[in-house]
Symmetry: C2
Subunit: 311 residues, 2 copies
């Protein structure tokens, strides 16, 4: 085989989603990175270069989520081929927008396309989960699954990973405020309480069930009433300067639900139109700018396709 190559993007994803701690995520029409995957005659997996990320992501193929995912794919494939990657990051790492999951999804997706799809999406999911594991230390599907499948995903449980696609209402839009500083997922994880009251567990399960019903019914009022979290938001708000003020600004500007994306610092806010999403973004940025120097705002519908081939 010669030097066949493909260029893909994988979408940013919001995990947790209010009451959906560790069980929900959705994809955005925002590319986290562009990745070129090239089949080479010389066996082995190599990262040729990573650009756009000042911190320096691991070039070590045993530590980068993209190459770890690929190594599991090649092991299943039993083909002695070489694969070379070029990654251009479009966001700083530690954003809370599923950057490591996007790498873990993009690489197997791209190689599968180059090889005329020997694997199903379910297979790709397994490779991506094993890739993501090196970043988070355990199997977590709440970014990987929406990144690969697109749309809104419920992960009912693990062993085996039970992924359920939920169709969100067409008009649903999402504003992302991304204050430009890094939060390490492992640090944010340590803030999560290990014990909860009976009242907490009833509230969280009621709101999680309510959010799914609201999305499936297209009931925006129900989505708004359900967007409450007793696990991550109360524990992690302290990591984001002015979080509650930013949330208040989003709600006052007409958002139908706002919380921390993943482990932050990105904050998501739902709305029912692109125009409303822009207004909400302005209001959020204004408040955050008083505390954090640089803030980037995105407004996006829900991405329903997953990764895209761009060249």
């Amino acid at each position: 085989m010669g030097d066949k190559s493909i260029k893909v993007t994988a979408p940013a994803t919001v995990s947790n989603v209010g009451p959906g701690f560790d069980i929900m995520g959705f994809a955005l029409d925002i590319a986290v990175e562009e990745m070129v995957v090239r089949i080479k005659s010389k066996p082995g997996i190599r990262i040729k270069k990573i650009t756009g990320d000042k911190k320096g992501l691991p070039l070590n193929v045993k530590k980068n989520t993209a190459t770890v995912a690929l190594s599991h794919m090649l092991a299943k494939l039993e083909m002695n081929i070489g694969v070379e990657l070029e990654i251009r990051k479009k966001m700083i790492s530690g954003s809370g927008l599923g950057s490591s999951a996007a790498s873990a999804v993009a690489a197997p997706f791209a190689l599968n396309e180059l090889l005329d799809r020997p694997f199903s999406k379910k297979d790709l999911m397994e490779f991506a989960l094993l890739g993501e594991e090196v970043a988070s230390g355990c199997i977590h599907a709440d970014n990987v699954a929406p990144c690969l499948y697109g749309g809104f995903i419920l992960i009912r449980g693990y062993n085996p990973t039970d992924i359920i696609q939920i169709e969100p209402p067409k008009k649903l839009h999402c504003t992302i405020l991304h204050p430009q500083f890094e939060i390490k997922t492992s640090e944010a994880r340590k803030l999560i309480k290990q014990n909860y009251s009976l009242k907490d567990i009833i509230a969280q399960s009621g709101n999680a069930a309510g959010l799914i019903a609201g999305l499936m019914k297209g009931d925006y009022g129900l989505i708004k009433r359900s967007l409450k979290d007793v696990i991550a938001e109360p524990a992690r708000a302290q990591l984001i300067p002015g979080f509650y003020e930013i949330k208040e600004a989003a709600m006052n500007a007409g958002s139908i639900g706002c919380s921390i994306s993943g482990s932050g610092p990105a904050i998501f806010a739902f709305s029912t139109s692109y125009e409303k999403g822009i207004e909400i973004g302005k209001a959020m940025k204004k408040v955050s700018s008083e505390r954090v120097k640089k803030n980037i705002v995105y407004v996006s519908p829900i991405n329903t396709v997953g990764p895209k081939i761009i060249g």
Copy 2:
């Protein structure tokens, strides 16, 4: 006004529903009781007689859920009329099938019909909740709401009570095994743990969301995978002789999910047809009969109408 009267039935209801502790319930085509409500010229609320219940339900109008609900209704109505009730119970009390809720729903429903519906269902709900409060000591909608509205109900939260109607799949049937002994709700409540782990809260919210998605999608496999509970079932199974063996028998006979109804001793088991429901009931009864002398089995589709006028 003369001696106008009406005869109604209110349905049995299953609350908790596996992962839906305190937040879910559904109605069955099984009447808990028949109630005759009669408008009398002499003011005041009276219970003329209660039959069919050997234990003796409260005739005291301040303690019976039916008459407490009615007293709140009459207070809102500002009419100086008399109301007389005759109640014929069709189940022993302490069944776990929403007997007190059925009384609290039937009485205001019946009087509202006699008066040509001055109140909406939402109003009736408020009266019924206040009636049910005297039986349980706090506001609980997980039997009252499905009893009044019919169908499958999610109670997302309280303050105010947020009731969401979920349309279950048409083929869904429910088998009820009712071993003939009483469990007091207040005693069963004391067994519920007050503290839960992070793993518990993630599992419960994932399964609660999964059950709602399964019902709305008509995905029986998902319903089955979601029917897991970390709160009530592990705590209360000890109250029902042979519970886990009965559940195993139901699952082996083809049930798509089985757990304790309310605080028991009734056990519910879902299936996809009436015939399958009958088979499941036979299997459950066989196991329970080795431990409890008398067992009654019901098989029913989901009741989608609430109370019925029968005379």
